[in-house]
């Protein structure tokens, strides 16, 4: 902070002393809704950024099940228990954990309403609800159909269902994955999943085939994935882009069939990754726009639609930053610092964030995409000349090293957030 900023924030702080929330020196209250990578990180970072702040975390589930590495669970390379984390350490840090679903937000009265009717007042609110499936976006698909044609895009029962379907499929079966248009949670996720399922099929059911039906003509780390597919899964894995008839326009659960404009694919196992939107509490709070996602200020993650409410993680429109657990954690830490400054009457400074998404093409073949981001023209924008994907011509030893780094990253991030 330079002298002028310091005086400005001191002035603002002194005015803030007469603001209603501060009378009687009550500790400022922050409520965080959603205890995933974004919300749990933010609650923890708030304890550091503003030790006086009373932090309440509202989370629907007692156990968090992480999506990163859940594709390895589907391929039988890992157990779901390795994906699960509890909130004990957060409670030990002094965070009040409320196990409940938030059902409504009153932005004027600054109150969160829980499913049982309890109200939680706040001075600032963080919404970190992740995604919800847009059940109405794909004709024939719906909540009950997902029991037959799993999405497995929220880790847990759905992950295990898809794994069981692959395990019980006969050799020679057709597996179909449908990938949605942008934006969606984890841009390289469908292609990592295709790779690891292909790895499973190659070892266990080599006469089978895997088709990826894509609503896009390009995807994350495309060249790296496609090179690896040629090297490892030639003849087994086929990617059909939008322009070749990849976009799924309807599904039929009775026959396990996916229809495109070009034809029909009857699958033994169908994994439908449907279009998504911000978790539904975002819409109820009035922070989602017509796209279904939440526009935010790139320095503070405060909603552009409702002052006093911050949105982080997959639910937010974060410019060039992808919807990843890595980005959710980075945004959470920036948001916590910004809230501490705002509650002090100050002005948050411009942040800088990093994202890195690792993908496994096989258990010992890792690739990554990295980016460095900062606000520019009201948007989070990549720093020119930074970031990019793993080298296209790297030797297998480098791929093995990156696979180990991927595993290390998962241990680090889950340790930082929950451990």
């Amino acid at each position: 902070m330079n002298r002028r900023e310091f005086l400005n924030s001191a002035l603002a702080a002194s005015t803030a002393m007469f603001a209603p929330a501060v009378i009687g020196q009550a500790a400022p209250r922050v409520v965080v809704v959603g205890g995933g990578f974004a919300g749990a990180s933010c609650a923890r970072a708030l304890r550091n950024a503003g030790p006086r702040i009373a932090v309440t975390l509202v989370e629907a589930s007692a156990t968090f099940t992480a999506c990163p590495f859940s594709n390895a669970v589907i391929a039988g390379l890992r157990e779901l228990s390795a994906q699960q984390f509890t909130y004990e350490r957060l409670i030990a840090d002094g965070i009040s954990l409320v196990r409940a679903t938030a059902s409504a937000i009153d932005a004027q009265a600054r109150q969160v309403t829980l499913a049982d009717g309890t109200r939680l007042p706040y001075d600032r609110l963080v919404l970190a609800p992740g995604i919800d499936i847009r059940w109405d976006a794909l004709p024939g698909y719906g909540e009950s159909v997902a029991e037959r044609m799993p999405h497995a895009w929220k880790a847990g029962e759905q992950t295990l269902l898809l794994r069981r379907q692959l395990e019980s499929m006969e050799d020679g079966g057709l597996v179909v994955i449908s990938a949605p248009a942008n934006p969606f949670r984890c841009p390289p996720g469908p292609y990592e999943r295709a790779s690891l399922i292909a790895h499973y099929l190659k070892a266990r059911k080599p006469r089978s085939k895997l088709i990826v039906l894509d609503a896009k003509d390009a995807f994350s780390k495309q060249r790296l994935f496609q090179n690896a597919w040629t090297e490892l899964y030639a003849g087994l894995l086929e990617w059909i882009p939008l322009s070749k008839g990849g976009k799924v326009i309807s599904v039929d659960a009775a026959t396990n069939t996916l229809a495109t404009d070009f034809g029909r694919h009857r699958a033994a196992v169908a994994n439908v990754i449907p279009p998504q939107k911000a978790g539904r509490i975002a819409e109820a709070a009035g922070v989602a726009d017509r796209s279904g996602w939440c526009p935010v200020d790139p320095a503070s993650f405060e909603s552009k639609l409702q002052p006093g409410i911050h949105v982080i993680g997959d639910a937010a429109i974060a410019g060039a930053m992808p919807k990843s657990a890595f980005a959710a954690n980075a945004q959470a830490k920036v948001c916590a610092e910004a809230m501490a400054v705002l509650l002090n009457g100050g002005v948050p400074s411009a942040p800088k964030m990093i994202n890195t998404c690792y993908s496994l093409v096989s258990p010992d073949y890792g690739i990554s995409v990295a980016g460095v981001y900062r606000p520019a023209d009201g948007q989070l924008t990549e720093v020119p000349g930074s970031g990019g994907v793993s080298p296209v011509d790297a030797p297998r030893a480098t791929r093995a090293l990156e696979a180990a780094m991927a595993e290390g990253w998962f241990r680090t991030i889950t340790g930082e957030v929950f451990g």
Binding site: A10, I413, E416
Partner: protein, 93 residues
């Protein structure tokens, strides 16, 4: 004004600015664990000699140091930014 600032500091409304990490510092801990409870394959940054971090980042940026990912990350930070980050980590345990 001075009295006001002092009063604001006294009631705890102004956190000393040294507590806040400089831009980018919090993002490093996505891979370089800040928590000592976390077993991590990459080196910890807390408590390191800031000159080491500045030198390593410069070498990563210039491609003079082997890297799987740090070369791509280092290119997003200026020397001044790295110096601030390194100084901040030096003060951590």
């Amino acid at each position: 004004m001075r009295a006001l600032v002092a009063a604001a500091v006294a009631v705890g409304w102004i956190v000393p600015s040294s507590a806040a990490p400089p831009a980018g510092a919090a993002a490093c801990s996505g891979c370089h664990a800040a928590s000592t409870r976390v077993a991590t394959p990459v080196a910890r940054l807390a408590g390191r000699d800031p000159a080491d971090i500045v030198k390593a980042m410069r070498e990563f940026r210039e491609g003079a140091r082997p890297a799987t990912v740090m070369d791509r990350i280092a290119k997003g930070f200026t020397d001044e930014e790295v110096q601030a980050i390194a100084a901040w980590y030096a003060g951590k345990r």
